[in-house]
């Protein structure tokens, strides 16, 4: 393989053992040590980035420097978000599995949510930039152009807001979360894809932290920030759409979060109950936990989806009722 590349370490192992498993020649070994200072002489934990240098040159290239920076950021994210008990590191594989198999768990919703928020933020920034450009020019012809461009951006924003309360269910259309996020500990990465991984690690870390602290608090924070974004997006002359969005999206969100949380609890118990009564699986073992996770994820997904759709209907109904 030409050029430098990197891969994600998938199990805890001492640095010398990792180095040995890669079977380098002495020349590349020195370079490997230089490039992997972030893991050198430590136990390399799952999720950390291991850099394989460019075999064509002994000196460090710019690409390798970027990979080193990424590796350091990933290490920082892995350690910073689970500094107290290494929750993320210990559960990296499980979290990854949860994200790949259950595009429905509430924890995974958070990453979809933050991505969605980032897109909204980007559109808002573009609108902001457009306003500034218009103010700088201020001519009549510029005004028409400004209005046309703003209309396009508002249409895009409408589209983004229409999926506001999807709570991760929309991800289903794009394949599994794992595929969408491009995470896999077995795949090799070219330098161009590393940034995506960095972001993914941050999201996984965030999801882990929120899972640990209480998903509902995380969702509440996301909702708060989204509400601020909506307020910013509502500009003069769009009061009607603004009010409608508040009703519809607000109800959708309430329905979705309410449904998902109740569905999670009911589903988890239904799962454990079914396993215990039908299959005679003890209620306190690993089997029961698996039943609870499957039941909880299915219940959370189903009722979250139903709640979202029914909430949307309720929002429309409320909006119509208040307007008449």
């Amino acid at each position: 393989m030409q050029g430098p590349y990197a891969f994600i370490n998938d199990r805890p192992q001492p640095y010398p053992q990792l180095k040995l498993s890669l079977s380098f020649n002495p020349h590349t070994q020195t370079k490997f040590d230089t490039l992997n200072q972030h893991i050198r002489n430590t136990v390399v934990l799952p999720g950390q980035l291991v850099i394989i240098g460019d075999p064509r040159t002994a000196s460090c290239t710019a690409e390798e420097a970027r990979l080193m920076q990424s590796a350091a950021n990933i290490k920082h994210a892995l350690l910073a978000h689970s500094a107290t008990d290494h929750f993320l590191i210990k559960n990296y594989d499980q979290l990854q599995a949860i994200m790949s198999h259950a595009s429905l768990g509430i924890g995974s919703v958070t990453s979809a949510w933050s991505k969605h928020l980032m897109q909204i933020e980007q559109t808002l920034q573009e609108i902001d930039e457009l306003h500034k450009q218009y103010l700088r020019n201020g001519t009549a012809s510029a005004r028409n152009e400004f209005l046309a461009k703003r209309s396009v951006l508002f249409t895009r924003l409408d589209g983004q807001l229409s999926g506001l309360a999807r709570l991760g269910t929309g991800l289903k259309n794009e394949g599994s979360i794992k595929k969408m996020l491009g995470i896999s500990s077995k795949r090799y990465w070219h330098h161009g894809e590393i940034r995506g991984y960095e972001e993914t690690v941050k999201r996984v870390a965030k999801a882990a932290e929120i899972l640990k602290k209480g998903t509902y608090i995380g969702i509440a924070l996301d909702v708060g920030s989204t509400a601020l974004e909506i307020t910013e997006a509502c500009s003069t002359g769009r009061e009607q759409e603004c009010t409608r969005t508040k009703y519809v999206e607000g109800s959708k969100l309430v329905g979705s979060v309410g449904g998902a949380s109740a569905g999670g609890a009911l589903g988890a118990l239904a799962g454990i109950g079914a396993c215990a009564i039908v299959f005679g699986i003890p209620t306190a073992g690993a089997g029961a936990l698996a039943c609870a996770i499957v039941g909880g994820a299915a219940g959370g997904f189903a009722l979250g989806k139903f709640g979202s759709d029914l909430g949307e209907n309720a929002g429309k109904f409320l909006y119509k009722s208040t307007r008449d």
């Binding site: 609890a265 109950g273 215990a276 009564i277 306190a284 029914l310 209907n313 109904f317």
Partner: protein
Amino acid sequence: MDFEIIGMCSLALMLLSFPIVFSAMFKKLDAAERYMQYSSFIVGCRHTFRNAPFEGRPQRVYAMGMVILIPKVIQWRGMVLAEDVEKIPRDLKYWMVIPTVTAYLSAVGMTISWFLI
């Protein structure tokens, strides 16, 4: 339209059941669980859900509700004694059963109406 209304009512019922569930899980659950301390189903659920949000109390309320509603079925698997369930005071039984039944009814209502809309 009828199913839409049923769905919306079910959703409203589910949201309205949350305060009752919260009251039950923080004020009545411990007292009710004391009567079931030898039930492997209740003890097992408490252990399994110990790391869930709110120490798994919502699930434990639903578990208690389930045991009170269908003690014979769970006794068939040897996970509870029907006599223990009978010892639970009537008001505590209501506190456990009402949130459970409300939550399951609203979930069923939401599911059916969603499929039929």
